[in-house]
Symmetry: D2
Amino acid sequence: MSAAEGGTIPATMRALRKAAAGPGASLEEIPVPVPALGEVLVKVEAASICGTDLHIHRWDSWAENRIRNVPMTFGHEVAGRVVALGPEVHQLETGAFVAAETHLFCGHCGMCRTGRAHICENLRILGVDVDGAFADYLTLPAANAWVVDPRIPTDVASIQEPFGNAVHTAFPAGTDPDLTGSTVVVLGCGPIGLFVVGIARAAGAAQVVAVEPNEFRLDLAKRMGADVLVNPSAADPVQAVLAATRGRGAEVVLEMSGIPAVIDQGTRMLRHGGRLSLLGLPTERVSLDLTDQVIFKEARIFGVTGRELFRTWEQTTTFLATGMVDAGPVITHRFPLDRYEEGFDAVASGRSGKVVLVP
Amino acid sequence: MSAAEGGTIPATMRALRKAAAGPGASLEEIPVPVPALGEVLVKVEAASICGTDLHIHRWDSWAENRIRNVPMTFGHEVAGRVVALGPEVHQLETGAFVAAETHLFCGHCGMCRTGRAHICENLRILGVDVDGAFADYLTLPAANAWVVDPRIPTDVASIQEPFGNAVHTAFPAGTDPDLTGSTVVVLGCGPIGLFVVGIARAAGAAQVVAVEPNEFRLDLAKRMGADVLVNPSAADPVQAVLAATRGRGAEVVLEMSGIPAVIDQGTRMLRHGGRLSLLGLPTERVSLDLTDQVIFKEARIFGVTGRELFRTWEQTTTFLATGMVDAGPVITHRFPLDRYEEGFDAVASGRSGKVVLVP
Amino acid sequence: MSAAEGGTIPATMRALRKAAAGPGASLEEIPVPVPALGEVLVKVEAASICGTDLHIHRWDSWAENRIRNVPMTFGHEVAGRVVALGPEVHQLETGAFVAAETHLFCGHCGMCRTGRAHICENLRILGVDVDGAFADYLTLPAANAWVVDPRIPTDVASIQEPFGNAVHTAFPAGTDPDLTGSTVVVLGCGPIGLFVVGIARAAGAAQVVAVEPNEFRLDLAKRMGADVLVNPSAADPVQAVLAATRGRGAEVVLEMSGIPAVIDQGTRMLRHGGRLSLLGLPTERVSLDLTDQVIFKEARIFGVTGRELFRTWEQTTTFLATGMVDAGPVITHRFPLDRYEEGFDAVASGRSGKVVLVP
Amino acid sequence: MSAAEGGTIPATMRALRKAAAGPGASLEEIPVPVPALGEVLVKVEAASICGTDLHIHRWDSWAENRIRNVPMTFGHEVAGRVVALGPEVHQLETGAFVAAETHLFCGHCGMCRTGRAHICENLRILGVDVDGAFADYLTLPAANAWVVDPRIPTDVASIQEPFGNAVHTAFPAGTDPDLTGSTVVVLGCGPIGLFVVGIARAAGAAQVVAVEPNEFRLDLAKRMGADVLVNPSAADPVQAVLAATRGRGAEVVLEMSGIPAVIDQGTRMLRHGGRLSLLGLPTERVSLDLTDQVIFKEARIFGVTGRELFRTWEQTTTFLATGMVDAGPVITHRFPLDRYEEGFDAVASGRSGKVVLVP
């Protein structure tokens, strides 16, 4: 490990650990990890909470099936400063302020060799498959460290990973420029949905329709630039979209909820020739009316995951650094790391956007 | 009506009629229709039987829900000679040998005005919504008459419509050139599936995998150029495709069966980043594992219907007129129109490819 | 001719005529034309002046080579009310307020049959090949009449045709969504260049660079949303673009000037992988450094002309009717038709944007 | 350096050296290079001669301007066996049989980070900027070593690099599937042109037109699958293409000659909406009629260089390993390394396809 810049690296650190398979987590003192070949050691400055972290904390069935190694440190949306370099790191220097691309790719499968490392056939996820970011320090492959544009503030830096999900959902490879001038529907206004409302607005959507049952989030959607707000408890979203489009349907639907019935609605509000991008992850099978809603309409359904490496990060930087999208309203809470329980409670409360933990 | 070329048009003609809502059909003598404004009168030289015609003949639940006007003449895959012009027809002359594009479009909806008339928002189908082609004559909008390349023989001319379905499924708008050099799987080898085997072969697929339970059709798939034949009664198609691709999956899957379980298999045999085109029409909802098979793989699903007007017809002409694809092996039976029952039996038997009726 | 709505159609009208091959034009009293089969008669409410009209007025070498029939009425950017229908017009009614698509297409060539009628192989242009719009009335094929969105005011309605050129240059078929988040350079800020500045701004360009030697127009470019203004008399545009992009070059360059040296500059300011769209028409051959500026950079050059029928008109309607782009600042002058000389002088002065003539 | 497999690595080797700025080259005995960090040492088994090598040998003005460091070893189309690994090489083992991707990329510029390393902003070329392949051994970054499919024979393995140029010209990113069913013209039938004739044939071109003044090469083009042969000494290529397309022009033109007048012809033989890909490198500026041949036609011009990393190599493997394209007829000569002068003479003679040197 190279000498750190501006200070000594301690021997131990705090880390939020899942000690065993089961609910809960605890802040423990563990050794600061040593960056292996090709890795850097990052001193965490901000780490935001993802829905995935809540699953791991609660240890629901998803977590039970997915998490293979405990004990482990979780958290993956993170920005911090490089304080040490492992062997064979050449492009990065200590002192660099970086955010983490959380898809750890093998580099040699067919996807990695053809520019699609984000869907690597041997993919591992930071904070899920390897120790993550709710800690004072974490190690990260240098190839996964994205140098943050200096115009982006620290807590916004940590949300670039989910913001990149939003960017990638809006602009998957292989679409024509279909946001500009279109009706764009966002199904589900958690943080990623809120981000994509802002992105669609910045990209010149003719109108952005936000669908979300939680009024707190719906209000945030309005602040991010949504033109039409639909609370599905009060109005049928399909009818609302048809009404907003003179009966034609929306050119673009961006699905963030992962709820099967909502995905089905997504197909039914699509215009002929429209595009439905799926980012939200259903936990059960989804039943669709393919004949009438997909085939006869010639709809296109795009599965979307992660971020394109690193086209999406360049786009994300442009949106956030130039002020085209102000992610500020979405970041509703900040807590020190040791008050992590309050952070999880805030996420679970439904009265929050993004919650950031600061070590 | 203008004067016909080469002979008198009789007052009456034979037409295969669905007399009432219910099974069966009968060959009746009815007046020769008069071409209305913008229409032409076509003397039928070959009309092939589509699966849809079998549904109408049997009067199954699909037909019961879909067919609104009886009595009616059915049949829609047709080629014949223009023998008279209705008012306001300027681009066609009597004597022209034409095939029918069966999607009758309104010409003024948002789809029609943006080059997507085949998914017209006010679409009507020849032989389903208006009188069709199992007759001595039919009327057709001049805009739906495609002049047949003289290198294409008469019975092949009549199958250009389903062949065009195959072309359009292979090359939907908005894909990169993904057939050449790829593993292409065809699910279901009815006539359209058989055509698309030949098209994928001609387009330089690295290998074409044909999946079909009917051995007669599987043999035809081999004759059309399939490299790998999978009978799902004997082998799991998903495992067979994985085996043929060193575990990676297929870049392109073309779904022609409309069977929900097969569509589900289609998603499971797709490679990361792969494309699934859906042409077969499921009669019930389809349950999919979107998370693992579509989202994490970043698969793309394209609904496909009809033919692009008239890009697909140009492509179809090229494939058939240059000999790039020999559709001959698929045309297994020919009957005179009055032996239509034998024709329907041949289609139903499973020991047939395309069956052509000749008046 | 059907009965006109709301008033009698007079027997004669004023029309700005090119009486003979040579400079100048005169307002003459000629018979009101009678709409032929498939045509409508339009009472002109606003007709704006295009650079082409100036060429015809001056009778420069372009006009001498291009205009085949004199006497003729010129002018083609027009909006007005349908007052009579010729035979066989079914989709339009008298009273409709329409703008003219000026590319008159044959409807049956390979381009027309595959959704590219704007590059019809037998194209004729309104006001160039057939009598045009600087008159009280004009006839127009009904298929070329676009019903104007009621939110668009009359004089803006007449500039939809050049605005559509700008839209089509920004979004030609076959590009990825490359404006949003990119550096977009506009070379030449005549009216179409000014429109495209507004369009790139609305589509979320990271920065719009406007290059124009005329300070009056450069000021208009600023009002339309340009972030960086470059007067090539004062600064080298290539260096200016490199400076604005940290030496990388622009992702998108939209060429509106038609000046060979400027087109060459356009290639030299492109980033690797960038896109150069050419709308401006050079009157002589253009010499390019293809090896270093196109091939090694893998630049893409798109020729662009007219507007896609009618995808571009839908996009144009969205931009103008929703207020995404305010074309108002570009319309700098309005004159009654009989003061047409003042109109041409205003266009020639260089101290104008768009000049509209009102009968 | 790790221990070599199957034999001792000698201290010195033969290498074809450009000793000083000026014509000629000499086979010298120099030390075997030592693979640096991230590099491998490859024992050459076949190295084919590129036109670039002829330029370097002759020391023409291109070479004089381009080659910065002498003495140097040239040659870059190469296949051989990995016999030693430098530090930090993890994906490759000694014994692997590899071909060289000759574009040495930096890995951290904007192009490299967005999947376009072949147009890296800091690109260096093997055998041009660093020592190359006409030698017994060469060093190569492990990231540039492509493991050869075992079905591909040794000398074909060495021509995968120029074959990849042909593949990339045929299928640049961002085109629709435009080869299948199209008229494809190949301008210039040197080895890359000959390869692309075979590729267009395999991809289902409706017809392949080969234009080449050298009858020996024209005959090879026929063997590779060209349907129409045009010797521009005998017939005007533009007229020949128009004649072969009923006056319409070709959908796709692939320019391999780099001759300005031929590039101009390429634009004039394009159909409306057609695509011209430029791979041949003109040594002077090229004058084009952009207005009539590019803008009014809405032609698209794509600059093409190198190979997409590594999408093109996967496609190349498929074409060559499956037998879809037989590159055999193009490889006309084989010489031992020490008879290199005969090799260069054969290339210069015009009576050769590809010439392979074998150490």
